[in-house]
Amino acid sequence: MDEPSPTADPLTNQFGSLNDLAHELASLQDLATRGSWRSILDKVSRARSLNLLSNPHDHLIYLSYNVLALSKLRRFTDASNELDSLHDFNSHHYKYETYPQLYPSRSGSMVPFSLRFIHAQLPIKLGNRQEGLDRFYLLLNFVRQRIKEKESNSLQESVKIWKKRENFVLNCLIGHHLGAKEFNVCLDLIKDLINHDYLDPVLISKLGYIQMQIGDLEGAKGSFNRVETMLNEGKDDGSSFLGEVEFRNLVNRNKALVYLVGKDYVSAVREYEECIERDHADIVAINNKALCLMYSRDLSDSIKVLENALERVPTVALNETLVINLCSMYELAYVNHSEIKRTLSNWIARVAPDDFDASCTRV
């Protein structure tokens, strides 16, 4: 790192805009939301070579974007190497109090938390699942210790943020155990979350999906009924993330799943259509509706539903799972399917974000 400039005080006009938080942060964030990860790599590289980053926190934030971009582009080894260059997240190099002229009366770690998360997830993406899980569980421990510390120092806002991080790490763990079909662990973790933290209809619905996945249909129906009751009684936790349209669509989609499992595809399609009517961009409803049509022997319409979605709402519809489903349908519908898949593939190449995994077209 360069010698920090003693005269500049980058955090005086501190929280007016994103750019106050780090050098040209708004631009970085804009590129990220567009999915222009390659441009982010360029921007970071440029900023580094032109010495545009004067402060340690700038370096860390740029490094975070860089590592995130590499991960998004599936360059997991490169991302891992870049993370390793930091050596130790807990080093005093990355603490505010090491630079009192730059960060007067501020102490603690300036490491963006996402670095710790990426550090845990990378080994799993590299095929070393056990290492990754260990890191996640260690991270969970680390977060819980921070919560205790902040609580004992009555730092309310920090406690809130670290509790959010605890919740985040638990959700990551559930996802990774679920991917490995370790259902008992998943059920324990998710029930724990539901019972301890808050009454979250999305979480309870996901419990239902897990129950459905393992074949516990009665359990799944029970979970979905709980969610529907919450909608009808206007209840959810205080910090609700669900708008009304989202909540109603969630309930309809849960109902549709029950119909689907019972092979009543007509009713399932009807539920999904209600969702799409309320929210044209409800991609889960659109995708699952297409599958129901196919299971009702209507392959042609199932293809149309997915193609329409890609045309109308490409930024939500352009999703690897939806494309996999569409390509499977093409392979069934057309003897010479390579042509139509190539057309799709070319369109994707023009429109998709950098991190879109084009191998899903199997072209």
Partner: protein
Amino acid sequence: MSTTQQGTHSLAFRVMRLCKPSFHVEPPFRIDPTDLFVGEDIFDDPLAASNLPPLLSSHVSKSTDSSDLTYGDRFLLHHPSDAMGFSGLLVLPQSFGAIYLGETFCSYISINNSSNFEVRDVIIKAEIQTERQRILLLDTSKSPVESIRAGGRYDFIVEHDVKELGAHTLVCTALYYDGDGDRKYLPQFFKFVVANPLSVRTKVRTVKETTYLEACIENHTKSNLYMDQVEFDPAPHWSAIVLKVDSADDSTGSGGGIYNYLYQLKFSSPGSAQVKVEGTNILGKLQITWRTNLGEPGRLQTQQILGTPITRKEIELQILEIPSRINLDRPFLVHLNLTNHTDRKLGPFEVCLSQNSAHEEKTVMINGLQTMALSQVEAFGSTDFHLNLIATKLGVQRISRITVSDKREKKSYDPLPDVEVGIIFAGFNIQYMFSCHLKLVNISSHMYING
């Protein structure tokens, strides 16, 4: 997986197995912008704690405005559980997968006309062929498909409950008139193998009147099985209560998982008398239903489960009473009962103390004629009689091999097990006898035996 005949065809079959779809799971790289923009401990700073949240939330609400078409949702968390990567999106089965006995094979079959000409009068058949049989799933002979236009398709879905193990072939055939008016025949074959999803081990134990059946079910599939129902279907005259089931929480044992069940079975006949059936003893069958991915059902029945074989008992000889004091060289009476368990009159009988193979000298013998005659016994009837015995030695002796024979059918039944009795001097120095032969007296006072 598919093989077709040589030659050009306008039509071709496309087949896809339609087992239930799965939920897509893939934990993504999606984060909360707070964890990217600032250091993790910045909220310890009271200035940051009060000023940052408004800045961040205004930024977040901008980027989740749906009219702003960006790929923000691929990178930002909208809801905390987005981190799971499990949104409820369903994925079509991406490979044929494994198929097991007891499941239902379901397939989408599409017949495509990839030529530039219409085809007419299409007779489509689909059947499953196994080693043992051919099962017709679809046949449009009665109403052939009138025409499939150039580039067109005719779709159908077939289902078949899989009841055999081993190699199966889905045979799809189409008989049609092509663009040149030629009658063409297209067969296509899709092979798959059916495996056994479970193995069931049973153990039977009989304790007095109750039989216990322990069943151990092992999962041989590659995924988890959710045991929906495991029921014991008892044979006639048997009833079953389930005593123990592996708890529902343990229902997901993937590849090698074991589920244990314990049943208590009781035999009860319609009448009051117990009728024991000769030969093997059939207890009943286990009916097993399970669910896999998204509730995909399967069901199997075991073969008949056998209990311990019961040997036929036509007649039963029981000792009802032996005197408590048996004196040396003095005759005594043993009270016996003979019961006829069959539904026909048996006898007449003879009772004696038979010799064993070693021809050991008997110390307790019949007093008088060495065989005692008994008259016929009615069906399900019984008769009481007394055997007049005498002991020739002191101390603990045996009444051995009381044997009954059927004179008419000329057969002997197995002798009764030996009975030990204590023989004492009549009226003699009882006290001395008691102190020397304490054990003896105790034994002889408990000599009431049932069979």
